[in-house]
Symmetry: C2
Subunit: 389 residues, 2 copies
């Protein structure tokens, strides 16, 4: 059987709309636009299903059952259309649902869409709505927000390893540098170490450049059971999909710095793909907060415990480094429209693996990329391995 | 290969907690209890994943990422845990996710849980929150609720077919009769035709006995790749899973009485299971409103257009009829804890097909049952076919 006759799960097209502080399009129009771009990119006119990642539309847009709303707006009335929610990992959850729909034999061609629009809502209400991704009984309902929760994680890290509180500076700097070249990114502003060190604190030692912004965005993928029949068309294969959970509340965890949810999800993905860290050319991780990026690098085995931050200092994470991350700006600077982020990651990995990353191209040749989408402070973790043709 | 060595998707255990007007347990405790009952029933101590159907927890309980919250509460920390949302069809969506997870080879044993707790919230706020399952731009945001939307559907039906507005009376009467024998039902009160005719209108010709109640509940299933190794254990096989969508807004539909989403989902399920309406012994349909029950019977091919209500009049829908529906009380009288209902349906069908329905036993022998879980006014439709061993 030739490569092109072998069933699997292939990404055969992508669609992104620009991440914006305030999108002009309505919620449904944003998702429909990303889907139409992806369908045109893949050259498909029909799909079997739409799996949509979204966290907040019920709370801040009074719209549940968003998947059929968006599918119909994209001209896909009738198809299966379902919403997946795993807080900030909703995009990764939608990708995994699409993956399983094809692997199960239920579908041949599906849309995976991530979508979030937050800008129309009051800022305090958005912060509270995002805090519903924490354990409301012990965190959100007691006044915690994701800023304070991540500040406490960062504090624990720098105290445990006796580090300067500015040890994560290079993560924000790298993200902004890469976003500056990505036309779909929210921020087009490089920052220097001096900018980082002069930036304001938003909670304890957490600086504004340690945190991702509130914004609007949507991205979409076409997943297919076979590679494109036109063999010259770009595509990538998804060779692993894995998910794991962890206590949502930080206080319940044995060792919050171990990020067991990330480790478990990652180890399952490595095993399924039959690879080790050595095989990984780049890692689109969930840098909603710099501390989560650092913990991810460690839990995934790319750095020993307590040393993930060094990959920033050593500039290993840059486009010309040994393990590029956030190659299009990451959640930090491309932006983090919550339910959409996991799908942007997949779209960006697709561009790297098909040689279409333009100014954001990773310098070395890349064949294997990992993407990881995370809900909460790493309580829902979705990991996918993508490989080039 | 013997029956017991053949991979597929089998329900090997169920758990239900009693549907209540006001549950004493917290949201997470309700789900965890249903899961623990199901795991004990199936005799399993470990699972690979929890797929949770829920619509409202973000809006009315400030809790998103509910799946890992519930999974951890049930002692399942670490497993894949994801929330599926398709409004009132969320339970059916979770069942389909579980089905695909096993068919895809990703999982061997999973929990499907449906969960909703509404009683702690202000009644007006609940009504508005449920209305987010409508098209908010054209319906909910303009003052429509599901009561008014279903009243308009009922009005269209009785005007189109020139019927008395009390033509659906037997649906409520049948549901209450069956619920009265179900210990897990909300209502334990039989009603007569006189009661129905004396009941109050809640909108236009829609009476209180045409509508399902606001309530709390949770149910869970264990799905396994193989039948139980102990061959004496009860189990059923899921032979089809299908989903379809339709415009969420009624005004967009070509013919709202055609219920095209139901028809499409149903025909896909019939085809996948290799059956026709003649093979179906009972139908656990989505009787959130009597008009939806009637339209379902027609769209699924159990009655010609305009004649679904006659199956009520002819008492075909009763436990001793030719096509029993709502055998444990249905959404109408067992109760409709929104995201949980689709999972209660599966649990009840399991009890019928394994000969464990007790006082609610369908009189004839049953081998093939259909369950259907619906979001909105039939805009997200999940249909599953269950067969006995």
């Amino acid at each position: 059987m030739s490569y092109f006759d072998k069933p699997g799960v292939y990404i055969t097209g992508i669609g992104q709309i620009k991440v914006e502080k305030v999108a002009e399009l309505s919620l449904r129009e944003m998702g429909a636009k990303a889907i139409r771009i992806a369908m045109a990119d893949a050259g498909v006119e029909e799909v079997d299903a739409v799996y949509l990642g979204n966290m907040l539309s019920g709370m801040i847009s009074h719209q549940q059952q968003l998947a059929p709303i968006v599918a119909c707006e994209a001209g896909l009335k009738g198809v299966e259309a379902v919403t997946l929610e795993a807080a900030c990992g909703s995009g990764g959850a939608a990708l995994r649902a699409g993956f399983m729909s094809i692997m199960s034999g239920m579908c041949d061609t599906v849309v995976v869409c991530g979508l979030e629009k937050m800008s129309h809502s009051d800022k305090e209400f958005i912060t509270q709505s995002i805090a519903t991704a924490s354990d409301w009984e012990t965190e959100g309902g007691k006044g915690e927000s994701f800023v304070t929760l991540n500040a406490s994680l960062k504090r624990r890290y720098i105290d445990t390893y006796k580090l300067s509180s500015d040890s994560f500076a290079q993560f924000g700097i790298n993200a902004h540098r890469n976003a500056n070249k990505n036309p779909n990114a929210l921020f087009h502003k490089e920052i220097t170490l001096e900018d980082y060190l002069a930036s304001k604190y938003i909670a304890d030692t957490l600086r504004i450049y340690d945190a991702s912004p509130i914004c609007d965005g949507s991205a979409a993928l076409i997943l297919s059971k076979y590679p494109p029949s036109d063999k010259t068309r770009p595509h990538v294969k998804i060779t692993a999909s894995a998910a794991a959970s962890e206590y949502v509340g930080l206080a319940n965890r044995r060792d919050p710095l171990a990020a067991e949810g990330i480790q478990r999800s990652g180890m399952k993905a490595f095993k399924m793909a039959g690879i080790t860290t050595k095989d990984v050319d780049f890692f689109e991780l969930h840098d909603a907060y710099s501390i989560i990026a650092v913990l991810s690098l460690e839990a995934m085995g790319f750095a020993p415990k307590g040393e993930g931050w060094k990959l920033g200092e050593e500039q290993a994470i840059m486009l010309d480094g040994k393990l590029p991350i956030s190659s299009f700006g990451g959640l930090k600077a491309r932006g983090h429209p919550i339910g959409a982020s996991g799908v942007y990651q997949a779209a960006e990995a697709y561009l790297q693996l098909t040689g279409n990353a333009g100014a954001n191209k990773i310098v070395k040749d890349v064949n294997v990329g990992i993407i990881q989408s995370i809900g909460g402070t790493a309580s829902s973790v979705f990991t996918h391995v993508l490989v080039s043709n």
